[in-house]
Amino acid sequence: MSAKPPFTDADLNAWVDGRLDADGRAAVDAWLTAHPERARELEDWRKINDRLRTAYEARLHEAVPTHLKTSLPRRRHSLQVAAIVGWLALGGLIGAAGGYRYGSREAPAPAQPSATRSAAAPMDLARRAAIAHAVYSPEQRHPVEVGADQEAHLVAWLSKRLGTPLRVPQLDAQGYHLVGGRLLATDAGPGAQFMYEDVTGERLTLYVSARQAADTGTGFRFAEEQGIAVFYWVDRGFAYALSGKATREVLLPTAEAVYRQLAP
């Protein structure tokens, strides 16, 4: 066997891959001059790189098969995704701004007073509902876990998971029929999303999440970001949000219908 080099595996491989700096390269070159057998070996290693790149080069220039391209999201999906990214970024900014205000006032962060908490919570609710809407509403094959054809089962299942009897608003008068629903993970544990669709395929989602009993109710509120409109409110320990890719004016009558149907 040839002499053990005064270099590590990493050095020799980096020499082969041309990743040494000038000094390192010169040092290895000098040693290789004195060890021709290792020099031939490393030169062969280097040639393997060349051969691989040459042999598989053609793949880079081939037309990409259509089925690979079509597995990518469609335009509509991309827009929804952009909306989610917008929401996430907005949440980060709000969080950062809040933190900054606290930090500038008092050095040790105090426990958040409940007023601050409940003021922050609805914003979070709208953002979460919008994200859930953006994630699931473009879904073609699996928009819901349980379809409207099993509505009784759907309601029983989600009621059991949320620990309270749920009611599913009927929005046929507004032109939307129930597609079905799914279980969601929320900050307060299990949540539910009900999905509705109109004849053109436009979808609305109703987000329901159990909140802490201490939460007081809120009025009817509206948020809109990057094309997703959200009406949201907290009522008797539950948070609701209706989301859709529509304007405030278009969504309002439907949101009011949901609100009325869920009110006692």
Partner: protein, 172 residues
């Protein structure tokens, strides 16, 4: 979420790597498709940064699962080349077939490291992150892969086969 344009731009690189990794065009495209689907399923975990490394990591995980499922990691002696596990295509050059065969004779984890470095020209640290092993392990796998491939491609270890079947030999 990476843009559709950004993802499209990565497909040729993914296909080249998958082709060299699997030694088979159809298997390679299946792997690329699975990778894209997984990427779309996990885009919430994506942070703007190195899209290529992120996709390669996903491909690595899928490939490892596939290999594990088929329990195909077998140690092969240099002179014990597979007879015909690689589907030869009319359009594939002899050089490509030789490389395919030799690569498939490497243990999967050595093949991966060799291709990520030698073909894809990724940084050693990046290869370590993608394959989930320390950089030191990357370097030792790389050395072993190169040593072994050199033997396979040079037609070394020329003792005769007992089966009498024709053996792969690079003729220059």
């Amino acid at each position: 979420m990476p843009s559709q344009q950004a993802l499209l731009a990565e497909i040729p690189r993914l296909r080249r790597y998958a082709r060299a990794l699997t030694g088979d065009a159809a298997r390679a495209d299946d792997l690329v498709q699975d990778t894209l689907e997984r990427a779309l399923g996990k885009w919430l975990l994506w942070r703007p940064g190195n899209l290529r490394a992120w996709l390669m990591t996903m491909m690595h995980n899928l490939f490892v699962n596939e290999v594990r499922a088929a329990s195909a990691i077998e140690y092969r002696d240099d002179d014990d080349l597979p007879d015909a596990p690689v589907r030869a295509r009319q359009t594939d050059g002899l050089e490509l077939r030789d490389l395919d065969r030799a690569l498939q004779a490497l243990p999967a984890e050595q093949r991966e490291v060799l291709l990520l470095v030698g073909l894809e020209e990724l940084a050693y640290e990046e290869v370590a992150r993608i394959t989930g092993v320390p950089v030191g392990t990357v370097m030792s796998r790389l050395s072993r892969a190169r040593g072994r491939l050199r033997g396979l491609l040079s037609g070394a270890a020329p003792h005769p086969t007992s089966s009498g079947k024709p053996r792969l030999r690079v003729v220059k």
